[in-house]
Protein backbone atom coordinates (compact mmCIF):
# COMPACT_ATOMS: atom_id res chain seq x y z
CA UNK A 1 0.00 0.00 0.00
CA UNK A 2 1.09 3.61 -0.56
CA UNK A 3 1.64 5.64 2.58
CA UNK A 4 3.82 8.41 3.88
CA UNK A 5 6.82 8.07 6.17
CA UNK A 6 4.97 9.37 9.22
CA UNK A 7 2.01 7.04 8.70
CA UNK A 8 4.39 4.13 8.18
CA UNK A 9 5.90 4.85 11.59
CA UNK A 10 2.42 5.13 13.05
CA UNK A 11 1.56 1.75 11.51
CA UNK A 12 4.68 0.18 12.98
CA UNK A 13 3.76 1.51 16.43
CA UNK A 14 0.24 0.12 16.13
CA UNK A 15 1.44 -3.27 14.92
CA UNK A 16 3.99 -3.60 17.70
CA UNK A 17 1.67 -2.31 20.41
CA UNK A 18 -0.95 -4.84 19.31
CA UNK A 19 1.61 -7.62 19.28
CA UNK A 20 3.23 -6.87 22.60
CA UNK A 21 1.35 -5.37 25.56
CA UNK A 22 4.67 -4.33 27.11
CA UNK A 23 5.19 -1.69 24.43
CA UNK A 24 4.15 1.86 25.32
CA UNK A 25 4.82 5.33 23.95
CA UNK A 26 5.93 8.34 25.97
CA UNK A 27 6.80 11.89 25.05
CA UNK A 28 5.57 15.47 24.98
CA UNK A 29 2.25 16.07 23.24
CA UNK A 30 2.21 12.61 21.69
CA UNK A 31 -1.49 12.03 22.34
CA UNK A 32 -2.36 14.52 19.61
CA UNK A 33 0.80 13.66 17.72
CA UNK A 34 2.36 17.09 17.89
CA UNK A 35 4.46 18.13 16.03
CA UNK A 36 4.76 15.45 13.32
CA UNK A 37 1.65 13.29 13.72
CA UNK A 38 3.50 10.00 14.13
CA UNK A 39 1.70 9.04 17.35
CA UNK A 40 -1.70 10.38 16.30
CA UNK A 41 -4.66 8.18 17.19
CA UNK A 42 -2.70 5.74 19.34
CA UNK A 43 -4.56 6.85 22.45
CA UNK A 44 -7.91 5.78 21.05
CA UNK A 45 -6.68 2.30 20.30
CA UNK A 46 -4.34 1.69 23.23
CA UNK A 47 -5.53 3.98 26.01
CA UNK A 48 -3.84 6.40 28.36
CA UNK A 49 -1.87 3.66 30.12
CA UNK A 50 0.18 3.06 27.01
CA UNK A 51 0.25 6.49 25.37
CA UNK A 52 1.73 8.85 27.92
CA UNK A 53 1.84 12.60 27.50
CA UNK A 54 4.74 13.62 29.67
CA UNK A 55 5.61 16.97 31.22
CA UNK A 56 8.51 18.88 29.67
CA UNK A 57 11.09 16.80 31.48
CA UNK A 58 13.37 15.14 28.96
CA UNK A 59 15.64 13.65 31.61
CA UNK A 60 12.66 12.06 33.33
CA UNK A 61 11.10 10.91 30.07
CA UNK A 62 14.27 9.15 28.93
CA UNK A 63 15.40 8.08 32.39
CA UNK A 64 12.01 6.62 33.23
CA UNK A 65 12.05 4.75 29.94
CA UNK A 66 15.20 3.00 31.07
CA UNK A 67 13.72 2.22 34.47
CA UNK A 68 10.71 0.68 32.76
CA UNK A 69 12.81 -1.18 30.20
CA UNK A 70 14.97 -2.71 32.94
CA UNK A 71 11.89 -4.07 34.65
CA UNK A 72 9.78 -5.51 31.91
CA UNK A 73 8.33 -2.87 29.64
CA UNK A 74 9.30 -1.74 26.15
CA UNK A 75 9.18 2.06 25.94
CA UNK A 76 9.17 4.00 22.69
CA UNK A 77 10.23 7.56 23.47
CA UNK A 78 9.36 10.45 21.18
CA UNK A 79 12.16 13.04 21.58
CA UNK A 80 9.95 15.68 19.92
CA UNK A 81 13.07 17.08 18.26
CA UNK A 82 16.38 15.23 18.40
CA UNK A 83 17.91 18.56 19.39
CA UNK A 84 16.44 18.09 22.86
CA UNK A 85 18.26 14.86 23.56
CA UNK A 86 20.84 17.25 24.99
CA UNK A 87 18.41 17.62 27.89
CA UNK A 88 18.64 13.87 28.58
CA UNK A 89 22.19 13.24 27.50
CA UNK A 90 23.29 11.61 30.71
CA UNK A 91 20.35 9.26 30.65
CA UNK A 92 21.25 8.18 27.11
CA UNK A 93 25.05 8.20 27.22
CA UNK A 94 25.81 7.09 30.77
CA UNK A 95 22.71 5.18 31.83
CA UNK A 96 20.97 3.55 28.87
CA UNK A 97 24.08 2.82 26.82
CA UNK A 98 26.12 1.37 29.67
CA UNK A 99 23.87 -0.48 32.06
CA UNK A 100 23.82 -3.91 30.44
CA UNK A 101 27.59 -3.84 30.19
CA UNK A 102 28.39 -2.35 33.59
CA UNK A 103 26.00 -4.76 35.27
CA UNK A 104 27.62 -7.73 33.58
CA UNK A 105 24.65 -8.52 31.37
CA UNK A 106 22.12 -8.75 34.21
CA UNK A 107 19.55 -6.55 32.49
CA UNK A 108 17.94 -6.06 29.14
CA UNK A 109 17.24 -2.47 28.14
CA UNK A 110 14.77 -2.78 25.25
CA UNK A 111 13.82 0.76 24.43
CA UNK A 112 13.60 2.94 21.36
CA UNK A 113 14.33 6.65 21.13
CA UNK A 114 12.57 8.20 18.17
CA UNK A 115 14.67 11.17 17.09
CA UNK A 116 12.97 13.61 14.69
CA UNK A 117 15.84 15.62 13.26
CA UNK A 118 17.08 17.63 10.35
CA UNK A 119 17.14 20.94 8.57
CA UNK A 120 14.10 22.58 7.08
CA UNK A 121 11.43 25.28 7.12
CA UNK A 122 13.61 27.77 8.96
CA UNK A 123 13.53 25.77 12.17
CA UNK A 124 16.66 27.61 13.26
CA UNK A 125 19.53 26.71 15.53
CA UNK A 126 17.62 24.66 18.11
CA UNK A 127 15.32 22.67 15.85
CA UNK A 128 17.47 21.53 12.93
CA UNK A 129 20.46 19.60 14.16
CA UNK A 130 21.94 16.29 13.04
CA UNK A 131 23.35 14.76 16.21
CA UNK A 132 23.60 11.09 15.21
CA UNK A 133 27.41 11.23 15.24
CA UNK A 134 27.45 11.59 19.03
CA UNK A 135 25.58 8.34 19.47
CA UNK A 136 27.60 6.40 16.93
CA UNK A 137 30.50 7.25 19.23
CA UNK A 138 28.76 5.84 22.34
CA UNK A 139 29.24 2.07 22.75
CA UNK A 140 26.05 0.32 23.81
CA UNK A 141 23.63 2.07 21.51
CA UNK A 142 22.27 0.99 18.14
CA UNK A 143 21.51 3.72 15.62
CA UNK A 144 19.10 3.54 12.67
CA UNK A 145 18.35 6.17 10.06
CA UNK A 146 15.68 5.25 7.50
CA UNK A 147 15.07 7.01 4.21
CA UNK A 148 11.79 5.49 2.98
CA UNK A 149 8.38 4.72 4.49
CA UNK A 150 9.00 0.97 4.17
CA UNK A 151 12.38 1.19 5.86
CA UNK A 152 10.97 3.45 8.56
CA UNK A 153 8.26 0.97 9.37
CA UNK A 154 10.52 -2.05 9.17
CA UNK A 155 13.34 -0.56 11.21
CA UNK A 156 11.06 0.78 13.92
CA UNK A 157 9.46 -2.64 14.29
CA UNK A 158 12.86 -4.31 14.51
CA UNK A 159 14.08 -1.65 16.96
CA UNK A 160 11.09 -2.26 19.24
CA UNK A 161 11.79 -6.01 19.24
CA UNK A 162 15.51 -5.52 19.92
CA UNK A 163 16.54 -6.31 23.51
CA UNK A 164 18.94 -3.36 23.46
CA UNK A 165 18.47 0.41 23.14
CA UNK A 166 18.00 1.69 19.60
CA UNK A 167 17.92 5.28 18.40
CA UNK A 168 15.86 5.88 15.28
CA UNK A 169 16.70 9.12 13.49
CA UNK A 170 13.67 10.32 11.53
CA UNK A 171 14.37 13.19 9.18
CA UNK A 172 11.50 15.62 9.63
CA UNK A 173 11.66 16.53 5.98
CA UNK A 174 10.64 12.98 5.09
CA UNK A 175 7.49 12.60 7.19
CA UNK A 176 5.20 13.51 4.31
CA UNK A 177 7.17 11.51 1.73
CA UNK A 178 5.01 8.70 0.33
CA UNK A 179 6.17 5.30 -0.78
CA UNK A 180 5.16 1.70 -1.16
CA UNK A 181 4.78 -0.24 2.10
CA UNK A 182 4.09 -3.99 2.20
CA UNK A 183 0.59 -5.01 3.26
CA UNK A 184 2.11 -7.88 5.22
CA UNK A 185 4.02 -7.11 8.40
CA UNK A 186 7.58 -6.63 7.22
CA UNK A 187 10.66 -6.13 9.34
CA UNK A 188 13.92 -4.58 8.17
CA UNK A 189 16.89 -6.09 9.97
CA UNK A 190 19.52 -3.90 11.61
CA UNK A 191 22.90 -3.96 9.93
CA UNK A 192 21.48 -4.50 6.45
CA UNK A 193 22.33 -1.76 3.97
CA UNK A 194 20.12 -1.34 0.94
CA UNK A 195 21.22 -0.49 -2.57
CA UNK A 196 18.63 2.13 -3.56
CA UNK A 197 19.99 2.38 -7.07
CA UNK A 198 22.52 0.20 -8.86
CA UNK A 199 25.33 1.79 -10.85
CA UNK A 200 28.78 0.91 -12.07
CA UNK A 201 30.75 4.16 -11.82
CA UNK A 202 30.50 5.66 -8.34
CA UNK A 203 29.22 4.51 -4.96
CA UNK A 204 27.29 7.18 -3.10
CA UNK A 205 26.76 6.24 0.54
CA UNK A 206 23.88 8.37 1.81
CA UNK A 207 21.47 8.47 4.73
CA UNK A 208 17.89 9.68 5.24
CA UNK A 209 17.04 12.76 3.17
CA UNK A 210 20.39 12.58 1.39
CA UNK A 211 19.38 9.26 -0.15
CA UNK A 212 16.73 11.11 -2.13
CA UNK A 213 19.07 13.95 -3.02
CA UNK A 214 21.55 11.35 -4.19
CA UNK A 215 18.95 9.55 -6.29
CA UNK A 216 18.06 12.86 -7.89
CA UNK A 217 21.74 13.52 -8.57
CA UNK A 218 22.04 10.01 -10.01
CA UNK A 219 19.18 10.68 -12.43
CA UNK A 220 20.87 13.86 -13.64
CA UNK A 221 24.29 12.24 -13.94
CA UNK A 222 22.87 9.31 -15.87
CA UNK A 223 22.10 11.86 -18.58
CA UNK A 224 25.84 12.62 -18.62
CA UNK A 225 26.60 8.91 -18.83
CA UNK A 226 27.72 8.55 -15.23
CA UNK A 227 26.08 5.56 -13.53
CA UNK A 228 25.78 6.18 -9.79
CA UNK A 229 25.11 3.46 -7.22
CA UNK A 230 23.27 4.76 -4.15
CA UNK A 231 23.81 2.69 -1.01
CA UNK A 232 21.76 3.45 2.09
CA UNK A 233 23.29 1.91 5.25
CA UNK A 234 19.90 2.22 7.00
CA UNK A 235 21.55 1.45 10.30
CA UNK A 236 24.85 3.02 11.36
CA UNK A 237 25.25 0.77 14.38
CA UNK A 238 25.42 -2.05 13.47
CA UNK A 239 26.89 -1.12 10.09
CA UNK A 240 26.69 -3.39 7.05
CA UNK A 241 30.32 -3.03 6.05
CA UNK A 242 30.12 -5.94 3.63
CA UNK A 243 27.54 -4.33 1.35
CA UNK A 244 29.40 -1.02 1.37
CA UNK A 245 32.71 -2.72 0.56
CA UNK A 246 31.17 -4.90 -2.15
CA UNK A 247 29.88 -1.80 -3.92
CA UNK A 248 33.15 0.11 -3.57
CA UNK A 249 35.14 -2.83 -4.94
CA UNK A 250 33.04 -2.59 -8.10
CA UNK A 251 33.02 1.20 -8.52
CA UNK A 252 36.40 2.18 -7.04
CA UNK A 253 34.98 5.65 -6.38
CA UNK A 254 33.08 6.88 -3.32
CA UNK A 255 31.00 9.86 -2.27
CA UNK A 256 29.53 10.02 1.24
CA UNK A 257 26.51 12.27 1.72
CA UNK A 258 24.91 13.30 5.00
CA UNK A 259 23.19 16.36 6.44
CA UNK A 260 25.30 16.81 9.56
CA UNK A 261 28.22 19.21 9.87
CA UNK A 262 31.47 18.20 8.09
CA UNK A 263 33.65 18.02 11.14
CA UNK A 264 33.67 14.83 13.15
CA UNK A 265 30.41 13.60 11.68
CA UNK A 266 29.22 10.13 10.66
CA UNK A 267 30.42 10.78 7.13
CA UNK A 268 33.98 11.26 8.33
CA UNK A 269 33.72 7.97 10.19
CA UNK A 270 32.18 6.17 7.20
CA UNK A 271 35.05 7.47 5.07
CA UNK A 272 37.42 5.83 7.53
CA UNK A 273 35.46 2.57 7.38
CA UNK A 274 35.61 2.53 3.58
CA UNK A 275 39.31 3.28 3.69
CA UNK A 276 39.93 0.51 6.18
CA UNK A 277 38.05 -2.05 4.07
CA UNK A 278 38.84 -0.83 0.56
CA UNK A 279 41.96 1.34 0.56
CA UNK A 280 43.54 -0.49 -2.35
CA UNK A 281 40.31 -0.44 -4.35
CA UNK A 282 40.00 3.35 -4.32
CA UNK A 283 40.92 5.06 -7.59
CA UNK A 284 40.25 8.52 -6.20
CA UNK A 285 40.02 10.23 -2.83
CA UNK A 286 36.63 9.82 -1.21
CA UNK A 287 34.51 12.96 -1.55
CA UNK A 288 32.09 14.06 1.13
CA UNK A 289 28.88 16.03 1.10
CA UNK A 290 27.81 17.52 4.44
CA UNK A 291 26.73 20.81 5.98
CA UNK A 292 29.39 23.43 6.71
CA UNK A 293 30.60 23.69 10.31
CA UNK A 294 28.04 26.21 11.52
CA UNK A 295 24.76 26.04 13.47
CA UNK A 296 21.72 25.96 11.21
CA UNK A 297 20.67 29.53 10.39
CA UNK A 298 17.09 30.78 10.16
CA UNK A 299 16.85 32.92 7.04
CA UNK A 300 15.81 30.92 3.96
CA UNK A 301 18.81 31.81 1.78
CA UNK A 302 21.18 31.03 4.64
CA UNK A 303 19.40 27.80 5.50
CA UNK A 304 19.43 26.80 1.85
CA UNK A 305 23.15 27.53 1.66
CA UNK A 306 24.00 25.11 4.49
CA UNK A 307 21.58 22.39 3.34
CA UNK A 308 23.25 19.66 1.31
CA UNK A 309 21.37 18.95 -1.93
CA UNK A 310 21.46 16.94 -5.13
CA UNK A 311 23.66 19.66 -6.62
CA UNK A 312 26.31 19.04 -3.98
CA UNK A 313 26.14 15.30 -4.52
CA UNK A 314 26.40 15.71 -8.30
CA UNK A 315 29.40 18.00 -7.90
CA UNK A 316 31.08 15.52 -5.59
CA UNK A 317 30.48 12.68 -8.02
CA UNK A 318 31.97 14.67 -10.88
CA UNK A 319 34.97 15.40 -8.68
CA UNK A 320 35.67 11.73 -7.92
CA UNK A 321 35.16 10.90 -11.62
CA UNK A 322 37.93 13.32 -12.62
Amino acid sequence: MLMDFGDALNLALREEMRRDPRVYCIGEDIVLGVPFGVTKGLLDEFGAERVLNAPISEAAIVGSAMGAAMTGLVPVVDMHFADFVTCAMDEVANQIAKSRYMFGGQIDCPLVLRMPYGIGRSGGGHHSNSVEAWFVNIPGLKVCIPSTPADARGLLKTAIRDPDPVLLFEHRGLYRLTGEVEDAETLVPLGAADVKRAGRDVTVIATARMVHESLEAARRLAAEGIEVEVVDPRSLVPLDRATLAESVRRTHRVVIAEEGPMRGSTGAWLAWVVMEDCFDDLDAPIARVAAPNVPIPFSPPLEAFVTPTADNVAAAVRQVMK
Partner: protein, 324 residues
Amino acid sequence: MPGPDALLAMYAGMLRVRLFEERVRELFAGGRIPGFLHTSVGQEAIAVGAATALRPDDYVLSTHRGHGHLVAKGGSLRGLMAELYGKANGICHGKGGTMHIADVSVGYLGANGVLAAGCVLAPGVALSIRQRKSGQVALTFFGDGAANRGPFHEGVNLAALWRLPVIFLCENNRWASTTATGLSAAGGSIAARAAGYGLPGERIDGNDVLAVHAAVGRAAVRARAGEGPSLIEAATIRWVGHFEGDPQAYRSRDEAAEGRRTDPIARLARALEARGLLDAAAAGRIRAGVTAEIDDAVAHAEASPLPRPEDALTDLFAHYPWRD
Protein backbone atom coordinates in the same frame (compact mmCIF):
# COMPACT_ATOMS: atom_id res chain seq x y z
CA MET B 1 1.20 53.23 41.84
CA PRO B 2 2.77 54.54 38.62
CA GLY B 3 1.92 58.10 37.54
CA PRO B 4 -0.30 59.07 34.61
CA ASP B 5 2.52 59.11 32.05
CA ALA B 6 3.77 55.73 33.20
CA LEU B 7 0.25 54.30 33.00
CA LEU B 8 -0.24 55.64 29.52
CA ALA B 9 3.15 54.24 28.55
CA MET B 10 2.03 50.82 29.78
CA TYR B 11 -1.12 51.12 27.75
CA ALA B 12 0.82 52.05 24.64
CA GLY B 13 3.36 49.34 25.42
CA MET B 14 0.77 46.58 25.61
CA LEU B 15 -0.90 47.85 22.49
CA ARG B 16 2.47 47.86 20.73
CA VAL B 17 3.04 44.21 21.65
CA ARG B 18 -0.52 43.23 20.70
CA LEU B 19 -0.51 44.96 17.33
CA PHE B 20 3.01 43.82 16.59
CA GLU B 21 2.14 40.17 17.25
CA GLU B 22 -1.10 40.38 15.31
CA ARG B 23 0.76 41.88 12.38
CA VAL B 24 3.37 39.16 12.61
CA ARG B 25 0.61 36.55 12.49
CA GLU B 26 -0.85 38.12 9.37
CA LEU B 27 2.55 38.30 7.75
CA PHE B 28 3.19 34.67 8.60
CA ALA B 29 -0.19 33.66 7.19
CA GLY B 30 0.66 35.68 4.10
CA GLY B 31 3.94 33.82 3.72
CA ARG B 32 6.11 36.86 4.40
CA ILE B 33 7.63 35.43 7.62
CA PRO B 34 9.13 31.90 7.85
CA GLY B 35 9.82 29.63 10.79
CA PHE B 36 8.04 28.04 13.74
CA LEU B 37 6.15 31.00 15.09
CA HIS B 38 4.89 31.41 18.67
CA THR B 39 3.17 34.69 19.49
CA SER B 40 2.16 36.21 22.82
CA VAL B 41 -1.24 37.63 21.96
CA GLY B 42 -3.15 37.92 25.25
CA GLN B 43 -0.02 37.80 27.42
CA GLU B 44 1.04 41.43 26.91
CA ALA B 45 0.56 42.50 30.52
CA ILE B 46 3.42 40.28 31.66
CA ALA B 47 5.93 41.52 29.12
CA VAL B 48 5.01 45.17 29.68
CA GLY B 49 4.44 45.01 33.45
CA ALA B 50 7.87 43.46 33.83
CA ALA B 51 9.75 45.70 31.43
CA THR B 52 8.32 48.89 32.92
CA ALA B 53 9.32 47.75 36.42
CA LEU B 54 12.95 47.29 35.33
CA ARG B 55 15.74 49.72 34.53
CA PRO B 56 16.68 50.10 30.87
CA ASP B 57 20.03 48.47 31.64
CA ASP B 58 18.50 45.46 33.41
CA TYR B 59 18.71 42.16 31.58
CA VAL B 60 15.98 39.86 30.43
CA LEU B 61 16.29 36.29 29.16
CA SER B 62 13.40 35.19 27.06
CA THR B 63 11.72 32.16 25.54
CA HIS B 64 10.44 30.72 22.27
CA ARG B 65 7.53 33.13 22.75
CA GLY B 66 9.69 36.18 23.06
CA HIS B 67 8.73 38.87 20.53
CA GLY B 68 6.61 40.69 23.09
CA HIS B 69 9.36 40.65 25.70
CA LEU B 70 11.70 42.41 23.28
CA VAL B 71 9.13 44.91 22.08
CA ALA B 72 8.32 45.73 25.71
CA LYS B 73 12.01 46.04 26.61
CA GLY B 74 12.33 48.73 23.97
CA GLY B 75 13.92 46.81 21.14
CA SER B 76 13.85 48.39 17.72
CA LEU B 77 10.76 47.23 15.85
CA ARG B 78 12.64 47.66 12.60
CA GLY B 79 15.49 45.41 13.68
CA LEU B 80 13.11 42.86 15.14
CA MET B 81 10.74 42.77 12.18
CA ALA B 82 13.64 42.53 9.76
CA GLU B 83 14.96 39.57 11.78
CA LEU B 84 11.59 37.82 11.69
CA TYR B 85 11.67 38.29 7.93
CA GLY B 86 15.15 36.77 7.87
CA LYS B 87 16.67 39.91 6.40
CA ALA B 88 20.36 40.80 6.40
CA ASN B 89 19.87 43.84 8.61
CA GLY B 90 17.74 42.03 11.18
CA ILE B 91 19.09 42.22 14.74
CA CYS B 92 20.69 38.80 14.25
CA HIS B 93 21.50 39.23 10.54
CA GLY B 94 18.79 36.67 9.81
CA LYS B 95 20.67 33.90 11.58
CA GLY B 96 18.41 33.73 14.61
CA GLY B 97 14.81 34.30 13.63
CA THR B 98 11.72 34.10 15.77
CA MET B 99 13.06 31.68 18.40
CA HIS B 100 16.54 33.20 18.61
CA ILE B 101 16.05 36.94 18.53
CA ALA B 102 18.42 38.94 20.71
CA ASP B 103 19.07 42.62 21.21
CA VAL B 104 21.87 43.13 23.66
CA SER B 105 21.64 46.91 23.24
CA VAL B 106 18.44 46.91 25.32
CA GLY B 107 19.52 44.14 27.70
CA TYR B 108 17.54 41.42 25.92
CA LEU B 109 19.97 38.50 26.01
CA GLY B 110 18.03 36.24 23.75
CA ALA B 111 14.94 34.25 23.09
CA ASN B 112 15.56 30.52 23.35
CA GLY B 113 14.43 27.46 21.46
CA VAL B 114 15.17 25.29 24.46
CA LEU B 115 12.67 25.57 27.29
CA ALA B 116 13.92 26.74 30.69
CA ALA B 117 17.41 27.43 29.35
CA GLY B 118 17.22 30.96 30.71
CA CYS B 119 16.77 29.62 34.24
CA VAL B 120 20.42 28.58 34.36
CA LEU B 121 21.79 31.44 32.26
CA ALA B 122 20.25 34.10 34.52
CA PRO B 123 22.23 33.23 37.67
CA GLY B 124 25.42 33.72 35.67
CA VAL B 125 24.27 37.08 34.37
CA ALA B 126 23.58 37.93 38.00
CA LEU B 127 27.06 36.84 39.02
CA SER B 128 28.54 39.28 36.56
CA ILE B 129 26.19 41.99 37.81
CA ARG B 130 27.43 41.39 41.33
CA GLN B 131 31.06 41.29 40.26
CA ARG B 132 30.66 44.53 38.31
CA LYS B 133 28.67 46.07 41.17
CA SER B 134 26.35 47.49 38.54
CA GLY B 135 23.15 47.18 40.53
CA GLN B 136 21.35 45.59 37.59
CA VAL B 137 18.98 42.62 37.81
CA ALA B 138 18.50 39.64 35.53
CA LEU B 139 14.93 38.57 34.82
CA THR B 140 14.21 35.29 33.11
CA PHE B 141 10.85 34.46 31.59
CA PHE B 142 9.74 30.84 31.33
CA GLY B 143 6.48 29.00 30.87
CA ASP B 144 4.42 26.74 33.09
CA GLY B 145 5.61 23.78 31.06
CA ALA B 146 9.27 24.78 31.22
CA ALA B 147 9.03 24.89 35.02
CA ASN B 148 9.14 21.09 34.96
CA ARG B 149 12.64 20.91 33.51
CA GLY B 150 15.75 20.39 35.58
CA PRO B 151 17.30 23.77 34.83
CA PHE B 152 14.43 25.46 36.67
CA HIS B 153 15.47 23.58 39.81
CA GLU B 154 19.19 24.07 39.38
CA GLY B 155 18.89 27.74 38.46
CA VAL B 156 16.51 28.68 41.26
CA ASN B 157 18.58 26.77 43.80
CA LEU B 158 21.84 28.42 42.72
CA ALA B 159 20.37 31.91 42.64
CA ALA B 160 18.75 31.43 46.04
CA LEU B 161 21.88 29.93 47.54
CA TRP B 162 24.05 32.82 46.42
CA ARG B 163 21.34 35.47 46.89
CA LEU B 164 21.75 36.57 43.30
CA PRO B 165 19.77 39.42 41.73
CA VAL B 166 17.50 37.21 39.60
CA ILE B 167 13.78 37.37 38.98
CA PHE B 168 12.19 34.10 37.84
CA LEU B 169 9.01 35.10 36.07
CA CYS B 170 6.78 32.23 35.05
CA GLU B 171 4.12 32.95 32.46
CA ASN B 172 1.45 30.43 33.31
CA ASN B 173 -0.85 30.45 30.30
CA ARG B 174 -2.47 27.15 31.31
CA TRP B 175 -0.89 25.15 28.51
CA ALA B 176 2.39 23.72 27.39
CA SER B 177 1.56 23.19 23.75
CA THR B 178 -1.28 20.62 24.00
CA THR B 179 -0.68 19.78 27.66
CA ALA B 180 -2.59 21.47 30.49
CA THR B 181 -0.56 22.82 33.38
CA GLY B 182 -2.41 20.53 35.78
CA LEU B 183 -1.18 17.55 33.78
CA SER B 184 2.45 18.63 33.84
CA ALA B 185 3.17 20.43 37.10
CA ALA B 186 2.53 18.25 40.15
CA GLY B 187 0.83 20.23 42.87
CA GLY B 188 -0.50 22.61 40.24
CA SER B 189 1.40 25.64 41.50
CA ILE B 190 4.74 26.94 40.25
CA ALA B 191 4.87 29.69 42.86
CA ALA B 192 4.56 27.11 45.64
CA ARG B 193 7.90 25.65 44.61
CA ALA B 194 9.72 28.75 45.82
CA ALA B 195 9.29 27.90 49.49
CA GLY B 196 11.39 24.78 49.09
CA TYR B 197 14.36 27.01 48.35
CA GLY B 198 13.54 29.51 51.08
CA LEU B 199 12.36 32.03 48.52
CA PRO B 200 9.33 34.27 48.25
CA GLY B 201 6.99 32.97 45.57
CA GLU B 202 3.75 34.59 44.61
CA ARG B 203 1.02 33.91 42.09
CA ILE B 204 -0.40 37.02 40.54
CA ASP B 205 -2.98 37.97 37.95
CA GLY B 206 -0.87 38.14 34.83
CA ASN B 207 -3.61 39.94 32.98
CA ASP B 208 -3.33 42.90 35.34
CA VAL B 209 -0.37 44.91 34.15
CA LEU B 210 -0.29 46.84 37.42
CA ALA B 211 -0.08 43.65 39.45
CA VAL B 212 2.80 42.44 37.30
CA HIS B 213 4.52 45.81 37.48
CA ALA B 214 4.19 45.85 41.27
CA ALA B 215 5.37 42.27 41.78
CA VAL B 216 8.38 42.65 39.49
CA GLY B 217 9.11 46.01 41.11
CA ARG B 218 9.17 44.41 44.56
CA ALA B 219 11.36 41.58 43.28
CA ALA B 220 13.75 44.08 41.68
CA VAL B 221 14.08 46.09 44.88
CA ARG B 222 14.76 42.90 46.77
CA ALA B 223 17.31 41.79 44.19
CA ARG B 224 19.17 45.13 44.14
CA ALA B 225 19.22 45.14 47.94
CA GLY B 226 21.19 41.90 47.81
CA GLU B 227 18.33 39.91 49.32
CA GLY B 228 18.27 37.43 46.49
CA PRO B 229 15.92 36.12 43.83
CA SER B 230 12.14 35.93 43.69
CA LEU B 231 9.76 33.62 41.89
CA ILE B 232 6.63 35.09 40.35
CA GLU B 233 3.93 33.04 38.67
CA ALA B 234 1.78 35.23 36.47
CA ALA B 235 -1.50 33.65 35.39
CA THR B 236 -2.58 34.54 31.89
CA ILE B 237 -4.29 33.21 28.80
CA ARG B 238 -2.82 32.52 25.39
CA TRP B 239 -5.50 33.74 22.98
CA VAL B 240 -4.03 32.07 19.95
CA GLY B 241 -2.52 28.75 19.00
CA HIS B 242 0.62 27.46 20.64
CA PHE B 243 2.26 28.00 17.28
CA GLU B 244 0.81 29.53 14.15
CA GLY B 245 -1.20 26.77 12.53
CA ASP B 246 -2.09 25.05 15.81
CA PRO B 247 -5.61 23.57 15.39
CA GLN B 248 -6.03 23.77 19.21
CA ALA B 249 -8.00 20.54 19.37
CA TYR B 250 -6.98 20.30 23.03
CA ARG B 251 -9.08 23.20 24.28
CA SER B 252 -12.49 24.72 23.87
CA ARG B 253 -13.18 28.01 22.14
CA ASP B 254 -14.40 29.35 25.50
CA GLU B 255 -10.86 29.89 26.64
CA ALA B 256 -10.04 32.41 23.95
CA ALA B 257 -13.35 34.06 24.74
CA GLU B 258 -12.40 34.16 28.42
CA GLY B 259 -9.13 35.71 27.36
CA ARG B 260 -10.91 38.45 25.49
CA ARG B 261 -13.16 39.09 28.48
CA THR B 262 -10.08 39.56 30.67
CA ASP B 263 -8.12 41.42 28.00
CA PRO B 264 -5.31 43.20 29.87
CA ILE B 265 -5.34 46.10 27.43
CA ALA B 266 -9.07 46.81 27.67
CA ARG B 267 -8.75 46.43 31.43
CA LEU B 268 -6.10 49.10 31.73
CA ALA B 269 -8.01 51.27 29.29
CA ARG B 270 -11.07 51.17 31.56
CA ALA B 271 -8.94 52.12 34.55
CA LEU B 272 -7.40 54.99 32.64
CA GLU B 273 -10.78 56.19 31.42
CA ALA B 274 -12.17 56.02 34.96
CA ARG B 275 -9.32 58.30 36.05
CA GLY B 276 -9.87 60.59 33.13
CA LEU B 277 -6.49 59.78 31.64
CA LEU B 278 -7.79 58.27 28.43
CA ASP B 279 -10.67 58.89 26.08
CA ALA B 280 -11.63 57.55 22.69
CA ALA B 281 -9.73 60.30 20.92
CA ALA B 282 -6.53 59.75 22.92
CA ALA B 283 -6.86 55.99 22.53
CA GLY B 284 -7.20 56.50 18.82
CA ARG B 285 -4.11 58.67 18.69
CA ILE B 286 -2.09 56.08 20.62
CA ARG B 287 -3.26 53.28 18.38
CA ALA B 288 -2.51 55.34 15.30
CA GLY B 289 0.99 56.04 16.59
CA VAL B 290 1.71 52.41 17.38
CA THR B 291 0.26 51.31 14.08
CA ALA B 292 2.52 53.77 12.31
CA GLU B 293 5.56 52.33 14.11
CA ILE B 294 4.61 48.84 13.01
CA ASP B 295 3.84 49.94 9.46
CA ASP B 296 7.26 51.50 9.41
CA ALA B 297 8.89 48.33 10.72
CA VAL B 298 7.13 46.23 8.11
CA ALA B 299 8.02 48.65 5.31
CA HIS B 300 11.61 48.56 6.52
CA ALA B 301 11.66 44.76 6.65
CA GLU B 302 10.04 44.43 3.25
CA ALA B 303 12.54 46.84 1.73
CA SER B 304 15.54 45.22 3.40
CA PRO B 305 17.80 42.82 1.54
CA LEU B 306 18.05 39.12 2.26
CA PRO B 307 21.47 37.99 3.46
CA ARG B 308 23.90 36.68 0.87
CA PRO B 309 23.86 32.87 1.11
CA GLU B 310 27.57 32.70 1.95
CA ASP B 311 26.97 34.93 4.97
CA ALA B 312 25.84 31.68 6.60
CA LEU B 313 29.54 31.18 7.30
CA THR B 314 30.08 34.39 9.30
CA ASP B 315 29.53 35.15 13.00
CA LEU B 316 30.60 31.72 14.24
CA PHE B 317 33.75 32.87 16.01
CA ALA B 318 35.17 36.31 16.72
CA HIS B 319 38.20 35.32 14.64
CA TYR B 320 38.83 32.04 12.79
CA PRO B 321 41.56 32.10 10.16
CA TRP B 322 41.85 28.34 10.05
CA ARG B 323 40.72 25.97 7.31
CA ASP B 324 38.37 23.28 8.60
